[in-house]
Subunit: 437 residues, 2 copies
């Protein structure tokens, strides 16, 4: 209890809501929510599994143009012993029929990226609470459209950024809010993930085994790889930006002002095709626009710099590359090390593990067992939990439409900066000044 | 011998010259060189110690406006049992008298940064071989002035970048040249060194013990700190850039095209003064322009991106932050780890140590004993050795005036970019096209 009290006192409303909305919003409105899921591919079904474990969620509707994926999702529901969901699969706009139904309170959207914004807008227009999987936007207009739909309808949108709930990230956030790092100065994060086996597969299995993509690919290779063919920018900024942005209070007293992006040359994907499929494979002729490493540097209104790395085409171990640096200390994820002035031995790294244990977030201690087995090291449990609890109360989500818009805006701004030889690009203020409060 | 042969075959001329000029330049001209040193402070005396250990160097002249520093240097010569040097100390231009002398073949310049270029130019005009300590330039014109002096006189300038000779850097360079990382894509380096105890001291001792600088400071605090008061940019780019620039053949088939720089807010130095000296200390009123973390991203002609970090005002462990990433692998210094596709366990970091041993540079194996005890982990021995061997042959140095100009240009370009809100700035081609050969 001491720890809980402490968190209440030091985290402030938004950060507390982030991890446990029920601590903040007193008036529970619903005991159980009716949920529809648009997109029942790998990601949608992974989240579906979490919802099926809960008594407070009834999955009433499923939507996907891929009938096989849809059947697999329905099968999961059946196996769980719950009532079958209504299915919507008749064309790309079948989701609109789902949105017309009264037995859907909220929708989770886990579709290919270009569908995110239009579906989110339509869902808010239909009065649904929206849970939106992460991605970068294809345009600033897309970001604005979501903001406008929210403001017009009052319907909420929660961006489902699971890394906010990574155990080390939450412990470090805890330390940040207690001032252990002093005033924050510089932060880093990114998406450094060798996705070559995701971008290419054999058309049957989701991971590797071939160099097909697009029509001949399966799962993400079907649509995600096309972005690497056509676009050059930080295509996936939120895993890195969300957590460190929260630490510096983006949209809650701070905001991003500008960024510059620089792209390396593009070699990794072509090489993978040649190495795995041979120089004569038709895909060896494809020219990929996405630079292998895209480096973006953001400046905030309060003067912090945020470095984001997007690095998905080369052989490398997975790393989100977090660095949190203030006037009194620094944490880096890649070497699992920390330095706190006055506590660490002078000028030497310390193992971060004891700090992460000491500042472990109470929610992780409380919910560790429930989270065990959930996707991505348990953090998927937390993001799904926060979503459900927020929907039950029709409450403002911990990560809202303004966060979704600002984070996703990094992608088109990054593309524009690279196209302009590294020229700085400026963030719209999607809050129209409300960030100051 | 096998390793040596191998190095000859794979390193190519310039990289080989970098580490051991005598392997390349057949015609030794001098058995012994006469050396003058301008600047006999901490750095100058450290290098003096290395020269005094050698039979092929006679230190014939010393110059410094600080008579105490000069006396300490002369005392070192006396203690070594060698002949006393001629001393030059009569005003800021006393060095010109030294340059007039025939018993000086080469000069080593280890003075405050703003003196580097004018002294180097004057020395080349006097026909001396110049060894120049590292720093960033204050202007592009300064860089050009050195290039022009070299081209007008034929006199050589070697930039004394010791990190080129760091043992891990040389091993990784060895791996790069053998293609172990595939085609290089993205590189990182920087100067991440908590210099607060260097920028401030008690006016008596060089490191810490007070918050004085400028007139009341001692050693580097006397002059270096003023740059943090007045300038915002990457003030010290060469330790990070030199090694990774060599790996991507800058000025030898490649060159830097443009950069963008972003600065965080400036908090660390003011906080240090207040914490150590009290809020009433006169220096607590000083406004420092240097952002605590300055992030610079460079694009090269051949498409690599190079990230440089300048981070000298905050509590943190020392790290030059090297990262070398190609189509077949990645090395990072901070976690001492490496990943080589097909050799490392899939998607997992390996300890870099066995690789660094396997690819340890033959020169390190050969000269390890001689280098032991030399400054900065032994690498000072190598840079001093390369300088002396190059001077003996009046040969083109491994790191020449074009490298000095290009690397140092990062600083004024970085300042301009920050001043322009992150706008890209463009590198002059100091070689006028010769980089292509």
């Amino acid at each position: 209890m001491e720890r809980r009290t402490f968190v209440k006192n030091t985290f402030g409303l938004s950060a507390l809501a982030l991890v446990h909305p029920q601590l903040v919003f007193a008036s529970t409105k619903k005991e159980r929510i009716n949920l529809g899921i648009i997109g029942t591919g790998m990601r949608g079904r992974s989240l579906l599994g979490l919802f099926l474990d809960r008594d407070d969620v009834k999955v009433t509707a499923l939507c996907d143009v891929d009938k096989d994926a849809l059947a697999r999702a329905q099968q999961m529901i059946v196996k769980s012993g719950k009532s079958e969901a209504n299915l919507f699969s008749d064309g790309e706009y079948a989701y609109k029929e789902m949105l017309d139904r009264d037995d859907v309170d909220a929708v989770l959207i886990a579709t290919p990226w270009t569908w995110h914004a239009p579906m989110a807008v339509d869902a808010m227009e239909a009065g649904k609470y929206v849970g939106l999987e992460v991605c970068g936007a294809t345009s600033l207009e897309e970001c604005w459209s979501m903001v406008r739909a929210h403001e017009r309808t009052g319907a909420h949108l929660m961006i489902m950024e699971n890394v906010m709930y990574r155990r080390d990230v939450m412990a470090i956030t805890n330390m940040v809010k207690q001032g252990i790092f002093g005033e924050l100065i510089h932060l880093e994060g990114g998406y450094q993930h060798d996705l070559r086996h995701v971008k290419f597969n054999d058309g049957i299995n989701p991971y590797g085994g071939g160099v097909e993509f697009g029509e001949k690919g399966y799962s993400e290779a079907k649509w995600r790889t096309g972005h690497s063919v056509n676009r050059n920018g930080d295509l996936y900024p939120t895993h890195g930006l969300g957590p460190v942005g929260n630490m510096v209070d983006l949209n809650r007293g701070n905001r991003m002002i500008s960024l510059t992006s620089t792209s390396s040359k593009a070699r990794g994907l072509h090489k993978y095709i040649v190495d795995q499929g041979g120089a004569d494979h038709p895909n060896a002729k494809v020219k990929f626009k996405l630079g292998d490493v895209v480096t973006t540097v953001i400046k905030t209104q309060n003067g912090e710099s945020i470095l984001l790395s997007h690095d998905t085409n080369l052989p490398r171990p997975y790393s989100l590359g977090f660095r949190v640096q203030g006037t009194e200390g620094i944490w880096m994820a890649v070497n699992k090390s920390i330095y706190i002035e006055g506590r660490s031995p002078s000028h030497r790294w310390e193992d971060a593990a004891p700090y992460l244990k000491e500042y472990d977030h109470p929610l992780w201690i409380e919910l560790e067992e429930k989270a065990a087995g959930a996707g991505h090291g348990g953090m998927d449990y937390f993001v799904a939990n926060a979503f459900v609890e927020a929907v039950k109360r029709d409450a403002k989500p911990p990560m809202d439409v303004y966060d979704a818009a600002a984070w996703a805006a990094v992608t088109p701004l990054s593309e524009a900066s690279i196209a302009a030889g590294g020229a700085p690009m400026y963030f719209p203020d999607f809050t129209n000044g409300k960030w100051m409060k």
